[in-house]
Amino acid sequence: MKMQRLLGSLICCSFLAAGATAADPVPPLDLPESQANSAAEMKPYEEVIEHTDATIEMLPIPGGVFTMGTPDTEQGRDDSEGPLHQVEVSPFWMGKYEITWEQYEIWGDELDTIRRRLLKSKETPRDAVVDGFTRPTEPYTDMTFGMGSGRHPAICMTQHAARTYCQWLSAKTGRYYRLPTEAEWEYACRAGTNTAYSFGDDPEMLDDYAWYGENTNDQYEPVGQKKPNPWGLYDMHGNVSEWVLDQYLPDFFKTSAKLNPLAIPKVLFPRVVRGGGWDNDPELLRSGARIASSEEWKEQDPQLPQSIWYHTDALSVGFRIVRPLTVPSEKERAEFWENTQPEQLDPPEGE
C-alpha cells in the first residue's frame, strides 16, 4: 500500500502544477483517494488546502458522449443553445459544490500563509511555489455584499480571478485544477438527462433543487441546501451562476469540435456563465441555458483603471472547479486551456 502511494505520487509529479517548473517538480499532497489511472479507479475525495481548515469535495464524473444544447421546443430557449449536437467529454472530477467564501478567501487574503507563520508550522515542498503566487489586489469593498461568508458561494470575481484561483490551487495541492469547459459543465449538469432541468421539465419543482428569484430573500444561500442532481452535484441550478472557460459565441455549437470543445476566449466580454443564480428566473436555470458576461458587471467600480480581479455588479456569479483525469501537458495547457486573450495585468503599484 505504501509503495502504491509513493508510485501514485511519482506519477502525479510528472504532471506539474501551474507555477512549478520542469526542473523543479513539486510533489502533490498525498491523498490516496484522489489517485486514479483510469476512469474506473476514480473515487470521490476531499482535496485538502494545507495550513487551513478548509477542504474541497470532489466527485468523479465519468467521461462520455451526450447531446449538448436544447431542442427548439424547450420553453425559454435561446437560439444560441442550438443546434443540438453530440459531444464527447473525457473523464474529470468536479466540485460537489460551488467554491465557497471560506475556500476562496484563503487565496485572496493569504490566510494559509498567515496561519503558517503565526503557528510556526513546518513548510511543505509546495509552500515555496505558493508563496510567490499571484494573489488579487485588496478589494475596494465587502465582496460578500452583506450576504454572508463561510459556506456561502464566493461571488463577483472576474473570470480571470476564478482561473487564477484554480492555478493557485493547483500549485497549492500539486494537482491540476481548472474551470470546466462549457461542454463539461453542461454534461455534468445534465447528468445523463436531456430534459430542461436535471430533474425534468417542470419549473414548479425548482424549489426542491435551486435557490432562485422566487424562493430567496434577495441573496445567495449556503451551498448544498437543496437536492443534488443525479450525479450528486449540488446547486448546478441556481444559487450562483458558474464561470466556465469559454468565450460566449452565439453560434459556437454549429462549428464546435466533437471531442472536448472549447471556445478559447479572444475578448474580455462576453464569456460564459452557466446554471443561473439567486436573482434569476427559471428559464436561466435550465441545463442548456447560456448566460453571457457583460461590461455592466463592472458598472459600479469607482477605480480607474478598473480591477482585473473584481466585478462590482455580478452578485450572483461564482464558479466551481474541475480536475481532468488526464492532465494536459504544459504545451497543451499553453496552447489550449490557458491561451486566453487579452492578457490581464494589474496596473503598476501607486504611491
Binding site: E105, D109, E110, Y140, T141, D142, M143, G146, E299, P302
Partner: protein, 464 residues
C-alpha cells in the same frame, strides 16, 4: 462609473438626470452672465485644479469633468510624487480622450513638491475650482490658500484628524463664507438620492422614534492601513505619505478614513451629532506591519437624548465581513446603506427583522451615482451662485469619527466638548513641510513607530 454605464435602465436614469441638470445649466448660464463677480471667466468655463493625484483625487477629477451643465476643464495638477501625477494625468486624459479640451494640463502646469498646491491654484482665476484630495492632514493648509485666492473648493473627507485642526478649519471656513465661496466635502452619501429619501421618511416618523443605530465596516486589510517597514533609501516623510492610512498624523488612520462615511450617514439619519463615546480595540495581527492602526474597533456613541450608536470596524482577513449602516426605531428598522457606499439600496422594514415579507419601502434601482451627484450639485451651485458650504458638517463628521478613534486608542470615555478643546495636534507646523523636512512622526531604533497604549497613555493617542 455611472456615466460610463451601459445598461439601458441606468442610461435612462443618466439621461433624465442630464436633462434635469441641463435645465439648471441654462438658468445657470444666465445667472453667471448676470453676476460676473461670481465667476470671473468671461467664457463661462470653470477651470479645475487637482491637488493630490491619488486614486480618489483622480476619480473626483473625472466626476468634475463629467458635470454636464457648461464648459469645464482641468488645467493644473499637483502632487508630491511625480509618478502619481503622471499616472493620474494619463488616466484622466484617457477617460476624456473623445472630448477635446476637457484635460488641458501640459507639463508646465504639472507641479511636484510640497508647495505645488500653491502653483496649481495660482493657475486658476477667482471662482474656479480646486480639488483638495491629499491626505487630510494637509487640508487646512490648502484650504487657507484656496480662500486667499478666492477659489471654490471640493475637499475630500475627512477634513481634519484632531481637535485643534478641526477648530482651525471651522474658523477658516468663516472667511470662505464671507467670500461666498462654494465648498463641497466628499461625504457623498449625503448626495445619494436613496438616502435623502430615507432621511425624509425617518424624519417623518416611518420607523417611529429612533432608539438605536449601528454601522459596520468589517473587511480584510484595506488601503494602506497595514504597512510594512520602510524600504531602505526611501525618505521617512515620503514613505509615510505614500502609506498615509497607516499614520495618524496624516489620515487619522483606518478609523478616520474608512469609518467616516458610516458614522456620518448614521448621524445624519438621527439628525444630530453624538455627545460622547467609549470604545475598545486592539492589535492582534499586525505581524511585521509598522503602522499605528488597531485591527479592530468597537465604539459606542451616545446622543444627547441617550440614543446609542454602535460602530464596528475591523481589518482582519477571513472574518465575517459587513459594510452597512442601520437605524432601529420603535416601529421598524431602516437599512441606511447595504454592502458598501453605493448603491445604498436604502429600505425600511416593519418591525426589527429585515425579511422580504416585512419590507415597507425600498428605493428603486438603479440609483444615480452619488460620487457624480456631489459634483453636479457643487457645480450647479457655483453657476447659479447659490450658498453652498459643507465644511462645518464635514468637520463635525471628522471630529466625531476622530473622537471614537481616540476613545479606543486611550481607553477613556471622550466627550465632544473634550475633543473640541483637546490641544494635542498631531502635526503642528505641517504648513512648513519641505521635501527635506524630518517627518512629524519618527520611528524608534527598531524601525517601529509609537502606537496607542489604551489605559497607559490617556491624554493623547500616542507619545511622540
Amino acid at each position: 462609473m455611472s456615466n460610463q454605464s451601459k445598461t439601458p435602465e441606468s442610461q435612462d436614469t443618466r439621461r433624465d438626470f442630464i436633462k434635469a441638470t441641463g435645465t439648471v445649466a441654462a438658468a445657470a448660464t444666465f445667472a453667471a452672465t448676470a453676476a460676473p463677480q461670481v465667476h470671473a471667466a468671461e467664457d463661462n468655463t470653470i477651470q479645475v485644479a487637482l491637488v493630490g493625484c491619488g486614486g480618489r483625487g483622480t476619480g473626483a477629477a473625472v466626476n468634475a469633468l463629467s458635470v454636464d451643465n457648461g464648459p469645464i476643464k482641468l488645467v493644473a495638477m499637483a502632487d508630491v510624487f511625480p509618478k502619481n501625477l503622471e499616472r493620474s494625468q494619463k488616466n484622466i486624459s484617457n477617460a476624456f480622450k473623445d472630448q477635446e479640451g476637457k484635460v488641458d494640463v501640459p507639463e508646465e502646469r504639472q507641479f511636484v513638491d510640497f508647495d505645488a498646491y500653491k502653483k496649481a491654484m495660482d493657475v486658476l482665476r477667482p471662482g474656479d475650482v480646486v480639488i483638495l484630495a491629499t491626505p487630510p492632514a494637509f487640508r487646512w493648509v490648502h484650504f487657507s490658500y484656496a480662500i486667499e485666492k478666492g477659489l471654490n473648493v471640493f475637499m475630500e473627507k475627512p477634513v481634519t484628524v484632531d481637535g485643534p485642526t478641526t477648530v482651525r478649519i471651522m474658523e477658516l471656513n468663516k472667511k470662505a463664507k464671507e467670500k461666498n465661496l462654494k465648498v463641497a466635502v466628499g461625504l457623498m452619501c449625503r448626495h445619494c438620492k436613496a438616502r435623502q429619501e430615507l432621511f425624509e421618511r425617518i424624519q417623518g416618523g416611518e420607523i417611529g422614534e429612533i432608539n438605536m443605530l449601528r454601522a459596520y465596516r468589517m473587511a480584510g486589510p484595506t488601503g494602506t492601513a497595514a504597512c510594512g517597514p520602510k524600504p531602505e533609501g526611501t525618505s521617512e516623510l515620503m514613505y509615510q505619505i505614500a502609506n498615509f492610512h497607516g499614520f495618524l498624523w496624516l489620515s487619522g488612520g483606518a478609523v478616520s478614513d474608512f469609518l467616516i462615511h458610516n458614522i456620518d450617514e448614521t448621524c445624519w439619519m438621527k439628525n444630530d451629532w453624538p455627545v460622547k463615546v467609549h470604545a475598545s480595540g486592539g492589535r492582534h495581527y499586525r505581524g511585521d506591519d509598522v503602522d499605528q492602526n488597531f485591527d479592530s474597533y468597537a465604539m459606542e456613541y451616545t446622543f444627547a437624548d441617550g440614543t446609542k450608536m454602535y460602530i464596528g470596524g475591523r481589518t482582519m482577513p477571513g472574518c465575517r465581513s459587513e459594510f452597512a449602516s442601520y437605524a432601529h426605531g420603535s416601529k421598524g428598522m431602516a437599512v441606511i446603506s447595504t454592502a458598501s457606499h453605493t448603491p445604498a439600496k436604502s429600505r425600511i422594514y416593519r418591525g426589527q427583522v429585515a425579511d422580504k415579507a416585512n419590507l415597507a419601502w425600498e428605493f428603486g434601482q438603479p440609483e444615480p451615482n452619488p460620487y457624480q451627484l456631489e459634483w453636479d450639485d457643487l457645480i450647479a451651485a457655483i453657476r447659479e451662485d447659490r450658498e453652498y458650504n459643507e465644511v462645518d458638517r464635514g468637520a463635525m463628521a471628522s471630529i466625531v469619527t476622530s473622537m471614537g478613534r481616540m476613545a479606543a486608542h486611550t481607553g477613556q470615555e471622550i466627550t465632544l466638548d473634550q475633543m473640541m478643546s483637546n490641544k494635542h495636534e498631531f502635526a503642528p507646523g505641517i504648513d512648513k513641510l519641505t521635501l527635506d523636512s524630518p517627518a512629524p512622526l519618527q520611528a524608534g531604533d527598531d524601525g517601529r513607530y509609537p502606537i496607542p497604549l489604551p489605559g497607559i497613555i490617556k491624554k493623547q493617542e500616542y507619545l511622540s
